[in-house]
Amino acid sequence: MRITCPYCGERDIREFTYRGHALAIARPAPDAGEAAWDDYLHLRDNPAGATQDLWHHGPCGAWVIVDRDTVTHEVAGSKAVAEVKR
């Protein structure tokens, strides 16, 4: 599995750290309530197939959203969190 960093290009997976499903960028408001926080912290769709992950690229420090297939390990694309969440 190789992942394309939006800034550095295609790189070895060892340069990246997995940080879970990409829902991590949609952090609820502090007062959103117990259900919203439980959902955010613990509950997962956990799809078998297409998914979006959040990865951290160690060498350049970018947070990257990766479109990936959990069954085939195919990486379809990636974009910087900074581009999505301004």
Binding site: Y18, G20, H21, H42, L43, D45, N46, T51, D53, H73
Partner: protein
């Protein structure tokens, strides 16, 4: 047929013509009292204990593939009870006791071998933790012996004791730990459940869970609709998909855990040995293959195979610990799909839907839990209250924050275990 030495002798003299298939291949009935979704180790154990302990035999096990074709056939076969936290301690202790009586219980040779597990440590801090964990095991009524360096050398003279980076300080010895023949466990449990009247239905994938007024009424399958008063989901590896059929989201992310086996060698490793400074654990199967595994690949996956960085880490750890196996040739590798929970401990509980129960989240420790999980899940389904060995495996512990069992002490959050 009851298996015995006499039967082997008799069949040997009569051309082995008397051996028959050991379970039926029934057509699903329109209705059962209880449906168990998942014909793996835990599902078959649940069916066995429902029949044996609770007299409930109007039960079907629905398996989308073949019996024992999932994680019970894709693990490193280690059986142990060396946990430290309340909740896990009593559960795995109970499970190990069930293992010790399993062959007599099933009249089946599951090749359970209590060859001893030795967890090595390589620093003073690790020694302190090993001592603490050993004390927790002894307090639970199980066995643990803290070995110093010379004590380890008596058992495992072949290790690289003076490794420059990771010298061996000692080990925590758990003599009752060991391994078992993984497929035989599934087959023995299937045979026992079938012989008591449980229907084991293979090639029958559940495609929907029927719920009326907040109560489960049955399931839709590729072999038609089947009604049931109670339904148990025990499909670790695919828990999220099956739970979604009942409108549930679970605190689970699926990860891949790789394992490896070498060509068959003469007996060389007598115990189950774990390295303390990298992810590597090893035992030798009765066929002679060295069976060893590592850590998760650490990304969500259902691929049942991993990537090379973790394979490389495992091989490096192997060479750091026991250079003697460096010339063994790797025969194959595989990946098991792990239901990872945020705290690294499992779930055996009711669901918000009446009559629907779930047993999932076994992380990378499901094999040793097979009899304990089946026993506790059967008790929960039959009596609607948790068995005393599994009261803490609650589904809501993440939401409430009460009773988290973070055995590794890394935090109760996804991707830390």
């Amino acid at each position: 047929m009851r298996y015995s030495g006499f039967q082997i002798f008799k069949q040997g003299l009569t051309g082995n013509s008397g051996w028959k298939p050991v379970w039926r291949d029934p057509t699903p009935k329109p209705e059962y009292d209880i449906i168990i979704i998942g014909g793996g180790g835990h599902g078959l154990a649940t069916a066995h204990y429902l029949a044996k302990e609770h007299g409930l035999t109007n039960v079907a096990v629905l398996e989308k593939g073949y019996l024992g074709g999932g994680n019970v056939g894709r693990n490193t076969t280690i059986v142990r009870a060396n946990y430290a936290l309340p909740g896990n301690s009593e559960f795995y202790s109970h499970s190990l006791k069930l293992w010790e009586g399993l062959e007599g219980d099933l009249n089946y040779n599951v090749m359970h071998s209590q060859r001893g597990v030795i967890n090595l440590f390589h620093s003073d801090g690790q020694r302190d933790y090993a001592a603490r964990r050993g004390n927790a095991m002894i307090n639970q009524g199980d066995d643990a012996i803290l070995l110093d360096r010379e004590g380890v050398r008596k058992h495992l003279p072949y290790l690289d004791f003076d490794n420059a980076r990771f010298p061996i300080y000692g080990g925590l010895f758990h003599p009752r730990g060991g391994s078992a023949r993984h497929d035989a466990v599934a087959w023995g449990l299937a045979r026992a459940a079938d012989s008591r009247g449980v229907d084991l239905i293979q090639n029958c994938e559940v495609t929907g869970i029927d719920i009326e007024g907040g109560r489960v009424t049955g399931v839709q399958t590729t072999r038609g609709a089947i009604r049931a008063k109670k339904v148990g989901i025990v499909v670790a590896g695919r828990s999220g998909q099956v739970a979604a059929m009942a409108g549930m989201r679970l605190p689970i992310e699926s990860h891949i855990l790789q394992a490896f086996v070498t060509e068959g060698l003469k007996p060389v490793i007598d115990h189950v040995v774990t390295f303390g400074m990298g992810h590597f654990y090893i035992s030798q199967s009765d066929k002679g293959g060295l069976v060893f595994g590592g850590d998760l690949d650490f990304y969500a996956s259902y691929a049942a195979r991993g990537n090379l960085p973790m394979a490389e880490h495992v091989m490096e750890a192997a060479m750091a610990l026991m250079p003697m196996i460096g010339k063994a040739q790797l025969l194959r590798s595989w990946g098991g799909i792990m239901d990872m929970t945020p705290d690294g401990s499992p779930i055996i509980d009711r669901t918000p839907i009446e009559g629907l129960y779930i047993d999932c989240g076994w992380c990378y420790g499901g094999f040793k839990a097979v009899p304990g999980s089946g026993f506790a899940f059967a008790h929960l389904i039959a009596q609607d209250r948790p068995h005393e060995s599994a009261t803490k495996y609650r589904l809501d512990r993440f939401r409430t924050g009460v009773g988290l069992m973070d055995e590794e002490g890394t935090g109760s959050q996804h991707n830390l275990h």
